[in-house]
């Protein structure tokens, strides 16, 4: 496969007076052109931090970034700031969660999108404006030649997110990182935006990393899923396999704790007990063990003392899991909850 993005052993650590916060700790994944990777995890699991490293957003901060981020063979962590600046927005673009705070309230939507274009293209204002109107039309904004002069507050939430997508795609980047792109939106608008992203992805053959906590969004959008917990990948594999046959208790927990539209309503939800750990002092051994209901099924106190490696799962090539459990089938959650 043509993996144009390879992340290898990415670590993003933040030194603080209380100790080092290992926000991302040894993350590796690949992405092919035109494909979508979904990164799932709770708040504080390191999913956003790892992706902003690709854009070089930790440069100039006190973050310690190590590992490799290879985009078309270039390691984004070793290039100069100027080289990074040339790539940012052109080869890698980002769609943020909250378009109202991601856009400047003082400038028109058209001006902001045109700026993103003119940074990388030597064109005059008029040509840039034509291109912006074209992009706004492409993302489905009605009367784009008129709306281009509106301010962000004159757009509805869904339209602002469309404008954000237009801004991200105007330079035809090979990689788009969408950080919770639909979390702030209603379901009907969310459906529109997800469809739009997929349509544009097919058109431009863009690679997309979609960061979300919503497994439903991942199920619909992603080809591969990466589940993160406490800064590490705990399961990684093709979406369909991973969501139907997960082999890591945290993934089981995520799936069993959300109600769906067809489940038996008399069945109680099975939550994951406890709360996510502090990244300042993550638990020894497997970071998930304090919340794991299955650690008794592992011989000895392996889960408590030894960090499991990311090993091949049983769902074919590309499926990796980080767990000591030897029997990878989902046990009956109800029985475990009762015991």
């Amino acid at each position: 496969m043509d993996n144009f993005l390879s992340v290898r052993d990415l670590r993003v650590h933040f030194p603080t007076p209380d100790g080092v916060v290992k926000a991302t700790d040894g993350l590796s994944y690949d992405l092919a052109r035109g494909k979508t990777l979904g990164i799932v995890g709770e708040s504080g699991s390191g999913k956003s931090v790892s992706s902003s490293a690709i854009l070089g957003l930790h440069r100039g901060t006190n973050a310690q970034v190590s590992g490799e981020i290879l985009l078309d063979g270039t390691n984004l962590l070793t290039i100069t700031d100027e080289e990074m600046r040339q790539r940012r927005g052109k080869e890698v673009a980002m769609i943020f969660q909250d378009p109202l705070s991601a856009m400047h309230p003082y400038y028109t939507v058209g001006n902001q999108i045109a700026e993103a274009y003119r940074v990388h293209h030597d064109v005059n204002k008029k040509a840039a404006r034509t291109r912006v109107v074209e992009m706004l039309e492409l993302v489905g904004i009605p009367q784009p030649d008129r709306r281009v002069d509106d301010y962000p507050h004159q757009f509805s939430g869904g339209m602002r997110q469309r404008a954000m997508i237009a801004m991200a795609l105007i330079n035809d980047p090979s990689l788009v990182i969408a950080d919770e792109p639909t979390t702030a939106l209603d379901v009907t608008v969310q459906a529109q935006i997800l469809d739009l992203l997929q349509k544009l992805q097919r058109e431009f053959n863009t690679g997309i990393i979609i960061i979300t906590h919503d497994l439903g969004v991942v199920a619909e959008m992603a080809d591969d899923v990466l589940v993160m917990y406490a800064g590490k990948a705990v399961e990684y594999g093709p979406t369909k396999e991973l969501l139907t046959h997960p082999e890591m208790p945290y993934t089981w927990g995520l799936l069993s704790s959300v109600p769906d539209l067809t489940a038996d309503v008399d069945e109680k939800l099975v939550p994951i007990p406890g709360t996510p750990p502090s990244l300042l002092s993550p638990p020894k051994g497997c970071a998930f063990h304090p919340r794991c209901r299955y650690k008794d099924q592992v011989a000895g106190d392996l889960c408590v003392t030894q960090q499991p490696d990311l090993t091949p799962g049983s769902r074919g090539p590309g499926h990796l899991k980080r767990c000591h459990l030897t029997d990878p089938t989902v046990p009956n959650e109800e029985e475990v909850a009762r015991s």
């Binding site: 339209m159 209603d186 379901v187 459906a191 969004v217 539209l261 309503v265």
Partner: protein, 399 residues
């Protein structure tokens, strides 16, 4: 079921014969829009809630779903009387509380409590948890001062927190724990009705389930009625046996869980359901056919005439702009407000409501016929209803 000629206007009858805990009729909330400048004239109204009716039985729970701006949160705040409604009635245990003043409302606050969405913004950061939970006891003088602390600890235990943590501050707790504090505070006065406004949407996925389970346990144990406001269709389905779908200040469809999720008759409900991403569905075989809604929700200041959904509805015809569809009962516990109501693929070609409203298919008045009086204003369910496929009234024999 037998056919009858009875008019669909019979008095409201709660299914078990007793009065419902909450009976809301024709509730209306208009917020004035002022002009800028020295003399701030009222130039219009945001019609946040415009004539909705529903009932909640003791220990029952009604889910309110809809997109942002549809008026679901405003409805919750009206029921708790944080707002004073512009019009309509709110009967709580048989007494109309819509027009009560602050003094008269005070004893009522014990019975109706609220859980807020944001566990960070709804707790005073400078008060200890014990004070946050204990203050309602002191305000309402429920227990002697000495017993406040034991009661607070009891409540902390009920919601699954360590009773010894009463002297901690909110910032020492995680989001899920803070929501538990909010729930404990709401339970302090042993309310009969809890309005939960998006109680889990600010929480992480793994924590959501903990809080939903807690709310369910509480409801069963204390027999509390719930008005559950949320946008997450799966969560509402899991929690509420009865659901109302709102659009632009109106209830467009209301009914039992299965009526809404399996037999939705309103095009908006159908679109909403088809838009919700579903893990299991998507994981096994691609996704469902999605009904795409075009454009955005219109402004509630100047809503469309007739049916408010018509501007985004693919079934809309002339009548939809001319006449507002009444909320008609079409099943034992199922009402819908649509001229072309029907399950997906079974929407009729002719407006089913026209004969009841005394209009033709374009919405023009037919001379000599009158609209059925009082259509769709009932807050409860009747044991006779209009059967759309059969085009006549039917009676529920089992009632």
């Amino acid at each position: 079921m037998t056919m009858t000629d009875a008019a669909p206007t019979g008095p409201s009858t709660a299914t078990d014969g007793s009065a419902p805990l909450l009976d809301v009729r024709d509730l209306q909330m208009y917020f004035p829009v002022k002009s800028s400048g020295l003399i701030r004239r009222t130039v219009g109204h945001v019609q946040a809630v415009d004539g909705i009716s529903f009932q909640i039985e003791s220990g029952g729970s009604l889910g309110l779903v809809g997109e942002s701006g549809c008026g679901k949160s405003t409805t919750g705040r009206l029921v708790t009387r944080l707002y004073k409604p512009t019009d309509g009635s709110i009967h709580f245990e048989g007494r109309d509380i819509a027009g009560l003043g602050p003094r008269q409302l005070k004893p009522l606050r014990r019975d109706i409590q609220m859980i807020f969405q944001d566990p960070y913004g709804s707790l005073n950061p400078r008060h200890t948890v014990g004070r946050i939970i204990g203050t309602p006891l002191e305000i309402h003088d429920v227990v002697p001062k000495k017993q406040v602390l034991p009661r607070v600890q009891e409540l902390l235990e009920i919601v699954g927190l360590n009773p010894e943590h009463y002297n901690r501050y909110p910032h020492e707790f995680s989001g899920g724990q803070r929501q538990r504090i909010g729930i404990a505070r709401a339970l302090t006065l042993q309310p009969k009705l809890l309005v939960a406004d998006e109680p889990v949407s600010a929480l992480d996925v793994s924590i959501q389930a903990q809080v939903i389970n807690l709310l369910q346990d509480i409801q069963r144990e204390f027999n509390i009625g719930f008005l559950f406001v949320a946008h997450d269709l799966a969560v509402v389905r899991h929690f509420c046996p009865e659901i109302a779908v709102m659009y632009l200040g109106k209830i467009v469809e209301i009914g039992e869980r299965d009526a809404i999720y399996q037999h939705a008759n309103h095009p908006y409900t159908q679109a909403l359901l088809s838009a919700a991403p579903d893990v299991k569905q998507a994981a096994i075989g691609g996704r469902r056919e999605r009904i795409q809604l075009q454009g955005d929700v219109p402004s509630p200041i100047n809503p469309p005439s007739g049916c408010r959904f018509r501007t985004r509805c693919s079934y809309a015809q002339d009548i939809c702009a001319a006449v507002e569809p009444p909320l008609l009962q079409i099943g034992r516990r199922h009402k819908v407000a649509c001229h072309f109501a029907g399950e997906i693929g079974h929407h009729p070609a002719e407006p089913v409501t026209a004969p009841l409203l005394g209009v033709d298919r374009h919405g023009d008045r037919v001379p000599g016929t009158d609209p059925t009086p009082g259509l769709g204003t009932d807050s409860g369910y009747s044991d006779t209803w209009y059967d759309f496929p059969g085009r006549r009234m039917v009676r529920d024999e089992s009632a």
